[in-house]
């Protein structure tokens, strides 16, 4: 998947006007909503850099909100995101941060709250051409792109958890492309992200949760 496809050139199919400010924004929010069980009732978007400066004219706000409602980059409902969010009872607010300069120019923090009152904050960067990177989850630095199907395991940083994760995946015959562990600090909460070549079987989430140190599991399937 690292090769440049003809559809990276003639594509993406997208709602305009900008692959970085519109399409990329919707992809970040789309990935973010996959990381919390829905429905999401409240969202705050904090925009940095060029996102903060030009988000209205690029429809970055509509694209973010659309992505959060599960719309893909070529979904024409993105234009009507505000109205559709209102209909769904999804409350949203956009804020800009122009102070922070040591940051990728097209960055957004998305704070989400679901019906059960759980919250999650995801930071994404839009890299151009609709490509994105998720760089933080709940303040912990991570790194994944959504180009591969990924399982994100939130767990305590204790011995045996990584072995449990690989065992569950190998039992389900999942071929691991990348596996990385990110943690707040030693012995504290950790995020293990495993990316796989094919689709991930949904059953794997239940098996992973069986370990006492595992707090939550999220599966983000690749659209490719």
């Amino acid at each position: 998947m690292d090769f440049i496809s003809v559809f990276d050139v003639i594509g993406p199919n997208m709602i305009g006007p900008s692959s970085s400010h519109t399409a990329g924004a919707s992809v970040i929010a789309y990935l973010a909503q996959k990381m919390i069980s829905g429905p999401i009732v409240e969202a705050e978007f904090i925009l940095y850099g060029s996102f903060a400066k030009t988000y209205r004219g690029h429809g970055t706000d509509r694209a973010l909100l659309g992505g959060l409602m599960g719309f893909s980059t070529d979904d024409t409902r993105i234009r009507d995101s505000f109205e559709l969010a209102d209909e769904r009872g999804l409350r949203y607010v956009f804020a800009v941060n122009t102070q922070e300069e040591e940051i990728h120019p097209n960055t957004v923090d998305i704070r989400m709250r679901n019906e059960q009152g759980q919250t999650m904050t995801v930071r994404g960067e839009s890299l151009g051409g609709g490509k994105v990177r998720i760089v933080r989850i709940n303040g912990v630095q991570v790194d994944f792109t959504g180009e591969y199907s990924a399982v994100i395991v939130i767990h305590m940083d204790k011995p045996g958890v990584a072995a449990h994760i690989t065992k569950c995946l190998s039992d389900q015959n999942v071929n691991i492309a990348f596996m990385r562990l990110f943690r707040e600090s030693k012995g504290q909460r950790a995020y293990t992200i495993v990316e796989s070549d094919g689709r991930l079987p949904e059953e794997v989430a239940g098996r992973l949760r069986e370990h006492p140190s595992v707090e939550d599991v999220m599966i983000v399937q690749s659209e490719n």
């Binding site: 090769f3 440049i4 496809s5 003809v6 559809f7 990276d8 050139v9 003639i10 594509g11 993406p12 199919n13 997208m14 709602i15 305009g16 006007p17 900008s18 692959s19 519109t22 399409a23 060029s50 400066k53 030009t54 209205r56 004219g57 690029h58 429809g59 509509r62 070529d74 024409t76 993105i78 234009r79 151009g128 051409g129 609709g130």
Partner: protein
């Protein structure tokens, strides 16, 4: 089957007696681990979106998000219909189409980035105008899109297609190079002619800066998409007539990239120079 340069692409075309589009399709199937039927179906979807985007604003003019565009495609179409067009039918239609796509893009409509959203009017503009004026089949246009994809892939791999990195010459310049190469194949030219046409475009658009008013993909982007169609058409015509270029595509692409990196920061999508910094543009956008 893969290639890393224009030269390797031409060697593959020569060795296997293939068109550029066939090599690109074969490459996609092999490296993407898929089959030609699926790949062509996906490209057919892109073509359908392009076809809608060139037509929609002619019926129903669209106001852009930033308010700088709206109604340009309809004006050109009506001007042409009245028999007043001075460009001739292919170019007249091509620029109307290209401006229509940017109208759709800037009003949050559905388009196909080719290679970027800001340059998305050039490839469909020229290819669909040629199809209309010459009665060509959809399958022929699909092939042409693979040809365009090959040129764009080389630009992405070996240079850049980002205005923020290389200026407008890298965005609309590359889009026009893609369109020129594809138009040559569509009209029966050889792979060598295709890459010569791509070279001609990069040469003629060398140094073009990226200076969007208000930082938005609207103005002058829309009219530059139209000029991209004109540049592509000129280059394709030259190549098809047998005019050769002294500079091979790979060298011209490298030159474009080198020039792009030398373009000052203010003229690379930052909206700090060029058109964006004119007093009238500043009063329009009211920002900064």
């Amino acid at each position: 089957m893969d290639f890393k340069s224009g030269q390797e692409l031409l060697e593959l075309c020569g060795r296997h007696h293939m068109k550029i589009s066939e090599v690109m399709l074969r490459r996609e199937c092999e490296l993407g681990e898929t089959d030609a039927k699926k790949v062509r179906a996906r490209m057919r979807r892109a073509l359908a979106i392009m076809r809608d985007a060139v037509a929609l604003p002619v019926e129903k003019p669209l106001r852009s998000m930033g308010g700088l565009l709206g109604g340009e495609a309809k004006k050109l179409k009506e001007h042409g219909d009245e028999g007043k067009a001075i460009c001739g039918s292919v170019l007249g239609r091509g620029i109307a189409y290209a401006m229509a796509v940017l109208e759709v893009n800037s009003s949050m409509g559905l388009i196909v980035a080719a290679p970027t959203a800001g340059s998305s009017g050039v490839v469909p503009g020229l290819l669909l105008a040629l199809q209309h004026e010459n009665g060509l089949s959809d399958e022929a246009v699909l092939d042409a899109l693979f040809n365009a994809g090959a040129v764009g892939y080389l630009a992405m791999r070996n240079a850049t297609v980002a205005g923020a990195v290389g200026g407008c010459q890298a965005e609309i310049g590359v889009a026009s190079a893609m369109a020129a190469s594809a138009a040559v194949e569509l009209m029966g030219g050889t792979p060598v002619m295709s890459l010569d046409a791509a070279t001609t475009v990069l040469m003629n658009m060398l140094g073009l800066v990226c200076d969007p008013v208000g930082g938005l993909v609207e103005y002058p982007c829309q009219s530059r998409n139209a000029s991209g169609v004109a540049n592509a058409l000129i280059a394709a015509e030259m190549a098809l007539s047998g005019i050769r270029q002294h500079i091979p595509f790979d060298e011209m692409l490298a030159a474009m990239y080198t020039v792009g990196k030398k373009i000052p920061y203010e003229l690379r999508e930052t909206a700090l120079g060029g058109c964006a910094a004119t007093p009238s543009a500043c009063s329009l956008c009211g920002g900064c």
